[in-house]
């Protein structure tokens, strides 16, 4: 019984290409060009699902994205929740089921690709009905760049679903000519299947293009920046609200026309047409002419429109003017409608039941003002339309066609062309309106707005559905108002009206109208809820696009990265950088590897890739003055060839970053920053330079990535380096905290004597492209010394043994240099520097501030977890327990043979020698408070 409702000819489906699909387990057949909805209707299926709250049978009511009812879950080719049958393109192998409320997500990974594309144009036209096509043609002929986007699979808009004539030929012919002409323009981009869903500042529009499951990219987000925009988005037909209006078989009149003309489908055999508006008559006529028995046209208005009445009379179609539908019957499908005459006072008389399998309805049209309103365009209630229309106010955005309440094709063509011309001119191009096709001379459709239709059997409105998607009825609105609500926003939230997948495309205007009527106020006084993006639902993955997996965020690597990989290092993420964490040998875990690496540095030699440290070249006559302002200590006194440690604070006195400063010239320095904060420091410095201290002549250049940097650390580092370098490395010629240029492993290098481990150490900088080569050379010459590559974990242990804090680990934005015990790095002589003034605020001068100290557990084998809290008592009182501070760094030390920690502790320096406690794994452990330096307090080892 396949396709018994399909006409033998007509429509835009490809009868040569049958498509098999399954719905709710049934094997069915349609054609290429069908939507799931049109194919179901062709197979006589009206009921698609049951409703969310009451479980009532629900069918197909519309033919586009405004569909409130026909929700399906696609199962194949891949599960996708909650689509409307009216927008799912029929494809071979499609499987779907009706969806009674909640969608289901796939458990298997989505194999599809998604991406984005930026595009620019002088004129963006949204919607390719007669208005949009006319606008696009007008703009394109001027030579301006045009983007024409339409959500539908084909251009033509409503013209494809009607049988209107343009230039005395089927309108589709003109559409084809228009599309061909646009297609031949070099600077016109035509995007079908592309739903424009968001309108943002400065004419930034976002759209999603559905490229199909077979395409390389399943969906593409278009990010369009347009000079000028024409919104020709058409209108959605408005269903009247009456008792039993949710029965499957109840369909918008215009949609029934679309099924007939576009898909060659008869949505039923015997139809009642119920309308408050002229436009439904065209459906009655068309369907009659296609063989549907029109049982009656029921028009709530006292007088039927003369033009249409005569066409009905010609065909013997009965018109029941001044009547209304007061109820429907049927279980899965409508079987009859109940009519009554309405007197002007709303009194009912003469009831009648008319059998049918289709009820076509129209309550007028709602212009699709969504995108206009999203862009802050004003809305105005148009009495004659019975809905909101654009009221101006968009910047560079114009609406045209049915989106403005113009409902004849002639008007739509003209307003589209005018908007296209005005937009093009505003974009700086010469544009004239060319010849437009001649539309049929149809009377402008009119209607009467009737929000609440009388219904004696259901006067409370319990079956008068306003929002089918959310099962909200007139009774629900009454109840909300009865609870004291007057705002449309409250009623929306109380009833959930307009909050479903369709965002109230067919229910929004009705709900405002009904609220207005129940409250006895004007429509305009009630207004609308806010139109928000997206205009139609968009998949998460489409928005995520290409930024997935490894491309989620740039992976930054150093020149030696592959070597680290080859030597089995796991990596630590430091900002976007990958840094080797440790280098386990076979059989080692992190703890044993780190102990080994630490031991190597303390007793032999280790090497670390420290290329990620930020490096900024600072040049200019005022460079020294500038550095004096941004570092807490004095840099202007630094001698050429020497290096100084420096600390930066924000103006509120909190530690912000640290690093070294090398004087590389009379007016030139090279400063280093922490790896994660390199960009932040450069921006910070530029900010002060450009906007505050504009008199300072200083240039900053990031050179981080020009250099690969290798730290050689340990008592034997000098021996290793001497075998690879021509530099004189003894303490006299190359003292601690100095730098020299020389040759290392055959390459010109800048070598610094700085140490983050406390051991004799060198940092070797070579242009990045020699990084791996020099690294390997040093590794080779170090072999006799058992040179040991080490990672960030070992580096942390070693520096912690020396009490060197890590900004961001031992500080948290609430710590001053004084708190760190680093007053020695805070100048008392300088007139000012960033942070200075804040050190004299009440809170920063408190004696009981948290200060950096060391902690040694009484229990030798214990390593207190980082983050552990400190308390002053041996036993825990009831909460809240006063806390004294927390452990910021904590490791097992190879040289100490036990665990040790750094901590921020209230009044910490005065507590040195005291015992504090920390809850660890359900017990309180005792810790001795110590100086933060655990190893080589005298600093003897740095000279080797």
């Amino acid at each position: 019984m396949s396709n018994e409702f399909r006409l033998a000819g007509g429509g835009r489906i490809d009868r040569g290409r049958p498509v098999r699909f399954r719905f709710d387990g049934r094997e069915l057949q349609g054609y290429e060009g069908d939507t799931l909805a049109s194919a179901l209707l062709a197979n006589g299926v009206h009921q698609v699902s049951t409703s969310i709250k009451f479980g009532r049978p629900r069918g197909i009511t519309a033919a586009g994205p405004e569909e409130p009812n026909a929700l399906v879950q696609v199962e194949r080719p891949f599960p996708e929740p909650m689509l409307t049958a009216t927008t799912v393109e029929l494809r071979d192998g499609l499987e779907a089921t009706g969806l009674p409320g909640q969608g289901r997500l796939a458990t298997e990974p989505d194999p599809a690709r998604y991406d984005a594309m930026h595009a620019h144009c002088e004129v963006l036209v949204v919607g390719a009905g007669p208005a949009g096509l006319a606008a696009a043609l007008t703009a394109a002929r001027s030579g301006a760049r045009v983007i024409l986007a339409d959500a539908d699979t084909e251009f033509g808009g409503s013209l494809l679903g009607a049988d209107e004539q343009l230039d005395r030929a089927p309108a589709a012919d003109w559409v084809a000519r228009a599309v061909a002409e646009l297609g031949s323009c070099e600077d016109v981009r035509m995007l079908s299947r592309t739903s424009v869903f968001g309108h943002y500042e400065d004419n930034y529009f976002v759209a999603v293009e559905h490229r199909g499951d077979a395409a390389h990219t399943r969906q593409r987000i278009w990010r369009i920046r347009a000079r000028q925009v024409v919104l020709a988005t058409g209108a959605h037909e408005r269903p009247p609200v009456f008792a039993g209006n949710d029965r499957p078989g109840t369909m918008l009149a215009g949609s029934a026309r679309t099924y007939l003309h576009r898909y060659g489908v008869l949505p039923g055999r015997r139809a009642v047409v119920f309308t408050t508006h002229d436009s439904a008559y065209a459906a009655a006529i068309d369907l009659h002419d296609a063989g549907v028995d029109i049982a009656a046209v029921v028009d709530v208005r006292d007088v039927a429109p003369a033009y249409w009445a005569s066409l009905c009379v010609e065909r013997g179609i009965t018109i029941r003017a001044g009547a209304t539908v007061v109820g429907t019957s049927g279980t899965d499908r409508i079987t009859s409608v109940h009519l009554a005459n309405v007197q002007s006072g709303g009194m009912m008389s003469v009831r009648q039941v008319v059998g049918c399998d289709l009820l076509l309805v129209s309550g007028g049209w709602n212009p699709a003002v969504h995108l206009h309103s999203q862009g802050r365009g004003a809305l105005r209630y148009a009495e004659d339309v019975g809905a909101l229309v654009p009221g101006g106010g968009g910047r560079g955005v114009r609406s045209a066609g049915a989106a403005t309440g113009a409902f004849t094709t002639a008007e739509c063509l003209r307003s589209g062309a005018e908007a296209g011309r005005d937009a093009t001119r505003a974009a700086g191009y010469d544009a004239e309106i060319g010849p437009l096709p001649t539309a049929q001379n149809l009377p402008a459709p009119a209607g009467r707005t009737a929000w609440l239709l009388p219904s004696p059997a259901d006067s409370a409105g319990a079956t008068q559905f306003v929002d089918l998607a959310r099962d909200v009825t007139v009774a629900d609105i009454r109840k909300a108002i009865g609870a004291g609500m007057e705002s449309v926003e409250h009623i929306k939230r109380y009833t959930t009206i307009g909050t479903a997948h369709d965002q109230g495309k067919t229910s929004g205007t009705n709900s405002t109208g009904i609220i207005a009527e129940l409250l006895g106020r004007d429509f305009a006084a009630i207004g609308t809820t806010t139109f928000r993006a997206p205009y139609a639902p968009v998949a998460f993955a489409a928005l995520a696009g290409r930024d997935r997996g490894d491309l989620y965020d740039p992976v930054r690597v150093t020149a030696m990265h592959d070597w680290h990989v080859e030597h089995s290092a796991p990596f630590e993420n430091v900002g976007q950088w990958k840094r080797p964490w440790y280098y386990p040998l076979p059989g080692e875990n992190m703890d044993t590897a780190v102990l080994r690496e630490c031991h190597a540095v303390r007793s032999g030699v280790g090497m670390q890739d420290v290329s990620t440290l930020g490096k900024i070249d600072v040049q200019g006559p005022d460079a020294a003055d500038f550095l004096d302002l941004v570092y807490t200590n004095k840099m202007s006194t630094l001698k050429l060839g020497r290096i100084r440690y420096g600390l930066m604070c924000t103006a509120d006195g909190m530690v912000f970053d640290d690093g070294t400063v090398m004087r590389t010239g009379e007016q030139r320095y090279l400063i280093s920053t922490t790896s994660g904060n390199a960009a932040g420091v450069l921006d910070w410095l530029e900010d002060w330079l450009q906007t505050e201290w504009t008199h300072l002549r200083v240039h900053l250049t990031s050179v981080t990535e020009h250099w690969a940097t290798i730290a050689l650390a340990g008592p034997r580092s000098r021996e290793v380096l001497s075998r690879a370098s021509d530099l004189d490395l003894d303490n006299e010629s190359f003292p601690f905290m100095s730098w020299q240029d020389g040759i290392v492993a055959g390459r010109r290098a800048r070598v610094c004597r700085i140490s983050f481990s406390g051991e004799l150490a060198f940092e070797i900088n070579v242009p990045r492209w020699y990084g791996r080569e020099v690294w390997e050379a040093l590794y080779d010459v170090g072999e006799p010394f058992d040179i040991t590559p080490y990672g960030t974990e070992t580096m942390h242990v070693l520096r912690a043994e020396k009490g060197f804090p890590i900004v961001g680990q031992d500080t948290d934005g609430t710590v001053t240099p004084h708190d760190l015990g680093m007053s020695w790095v805070v100048s008392k002589k300088k007139a000012d520097f960033l942070g200075k003034r804040s050190f004299s605020r009440a809170d920063t001068t408190r004696a009981d501030r948290k200060q950096l100290v060391g902690l040694l557990p009484h229990d030798d084998i214990l390593v207190v977890p980082e983050g552990a809290q400190l308390v002053g008592t041996e036993a825990l009182p009831a909460p809240p327990v006063p806390m004294l501070g927390h452990v910021t760094s904590s490791y097992r030390s190879a040289v100490l043979g036990k665990g040790f920690s750094l901590a921020l502790l209230k009044g910490g320096r005065d507590r040195i020698g005291d015992t504090v406690y920390s809850p660890v794994g359900g017990r309180l452990v005792a810790l001795e408070v110590t100086e933060p330096v655990f190893y080589d307090k005298e600093g003897a080892r740095r000279d080797g």
Binding site: G101, T107, A539, E572, G813, T814
Partner: protein, 410 residues
């Protein structure tokens, strides 16, 4: 086809909520702003202090500001003692609120996971968990396997660009239905005779010297014994009328929902590093949020790239969300302070009180704010729980900096 009726299991709203009275000429206390905070404050003024000659003046529709647009996450696992004290007090009040208001608030203690994606986040998380425990706040540190057990749909694979290294877990945390909370308070207030005046925009203040004695509004002048600001993102605009500067900046904060989905997400997941937080509301929609948009704005809308980035994080963490659809996006106007903590207490003006700066995270504080702010107003002196949140901390430097350490904002 078994009919599932996700809407039907939700409770019906009461048949009566609140009146819309004309404002009287004077009140003992006028509260400016009918969001959650204003309503809760009026409620505790009545219940704890017997003060009912009160009006809550709301410029638009009741609770239509941030109260109508937040992602409803409730938790108390903040780092600093001051914050933990206030938020935990609030959480305890939440636990009895449904009963007190006799309204189904859909308060669901489904727990909150705060993910850690870097070693430093692990340290910060452990630090917070340990502090929470000592402050009497329920908290646990979970490793990735334990995280996966609580939220199986979360991607805990090690090869993630920023893998989940663990999470903090507060079992008593959760979500509630924001509108119901507002309406529950409103119904009680209406019953107790408090005037909830809507469409009544406060435009200025009546002063006698340094004393504020009333407000001017779009519905006339209203005299007041005391005036309490509870206007969230709009507070600067009001304070400007008095020449009072506040250290807050108003930013858009966006959120979004998906279509209704079968239950997949059993808890609340928040990730500061990749910036997304997600829960599944009672009806079935996924509710997601991210960080603020960078610039000041009163526009109740944000930029789309914020949403796109948020979706990237969501799909990375929850691959299953790939084909879920964004149904609606929106934004609120949040009042951000330099230390990411609120401001609540006295002002330089007699009879004027300020509560603002809750930024991206004040929904959870709603009952706690009401309790403490009511105390502050009634006694003309801060409650011990809100004393640390005074304005002068910015002068002394005694900030309650919840940025660095507690990280997660909401």
């Amino acid at each position: 086809m078994t009919p599932r009726t996700p809407g039907a299991e939700l409770p019906e709203h009461p048949d009566w909520l609140w009146h819309s009275p004309e404002p009287k000429q004077s009140y003992d206390v006028v509260i400016v702003g009918g969001g959650g905070h204003g309503l809760a404050t009026a409620y505790y003024l009545a219940v704890n202090h017997g003060i009912t000659n009160v009006a809550v003046l709301e410029g638009g529709w009741l609770a239509g500001g941030n109260m109508a647009r937040n992602t409803t996450i409730i938790r108390s696992n903040y780092l600093w003692d001051e914050s933990a004290g206030l938020y935990e007090h609030s959480l305890k009040l939440w636990e009895g609120l449904e009963e007190a208001l006799d309204y189904p608030l859909l308060f669901s203690q489904r727990g909150v996971l705060n993910l850690a994606h870097s070693l430093q986040e692990v340290r910060d998380s452990v630090r917070r968990v340990e502090a929470n425990k000592l402050n009497g706040v329920d908290a646990e540190w979970l490793d990735p396997a334990q995280v996966a057990e609580i939220c199986p749909i979360l991607n805990t694979a090690e090869d993630l660009r920023y893998p989940v290294l663990g999470a903090t877990w507060q079992p008593r945390a959760g979500i509630a239905k924001h509108d119901h909370v507002a309406w529950g308070f409103a119904r009680e207030l209406d019953r107790m005779g408090v005037d909830l005046v809507q469409n009544c925009q406060v435009t200025g203040f009546e002063r006698v010297g340094d004393r504020v004695v009333g407000v001017t509004t779009t519905r006339g002048t209203i005299r007041a014994g005391k005036v309490a600001l509870a206007a969230a993102g709009q507070t600067s605009v009001l304070a400007d009328e008095l020449g009072l500067r506040l250290p807050i900046q108003s930013h858009p904060l966006q959120a979004l929902v998906s279509e209704l989905l079968e239950p997949v997400h059993p808890t609340v997941v928040m990730s500061n590093a990749v910036h997304v937080y997600v829960s599944q509301a009672h009806k079935g929609e996924l509710v997601l949020g991210a960080g603020i948009d960078s610039y000041n704005s009163y526009g109740q809308r944000g930029a789309f790239h914020t949403i796109e980035r948020e979706m990237t994080a969501a799909v990375e963490l929850f691959p299953m969300f790939s084909r879920a659809h964004v149904l609606r996006t929106w934004a609120g106007v949040v009042d951000v302070t330099p230390d990411a903590s609120a401001i609540m207490g006295l002002t330089p003006f007699d009879g004027l009180y300020v509560n603002c700066g809750w930024g991206t995270g004040g929904f959870k504080a709603t009952p706690g704010v009401g309790w403490c702010y009511a105390h502050t107003i009634a006694h003309d002196e801060p409650h011990p729980l809100n004393a640390p949140f005074s304005l002068d901390r910015f002068t002394t430097g005694a900030l309650v900096d919840e940025h660095g350490a507690a990280g997660v904002a909401h």
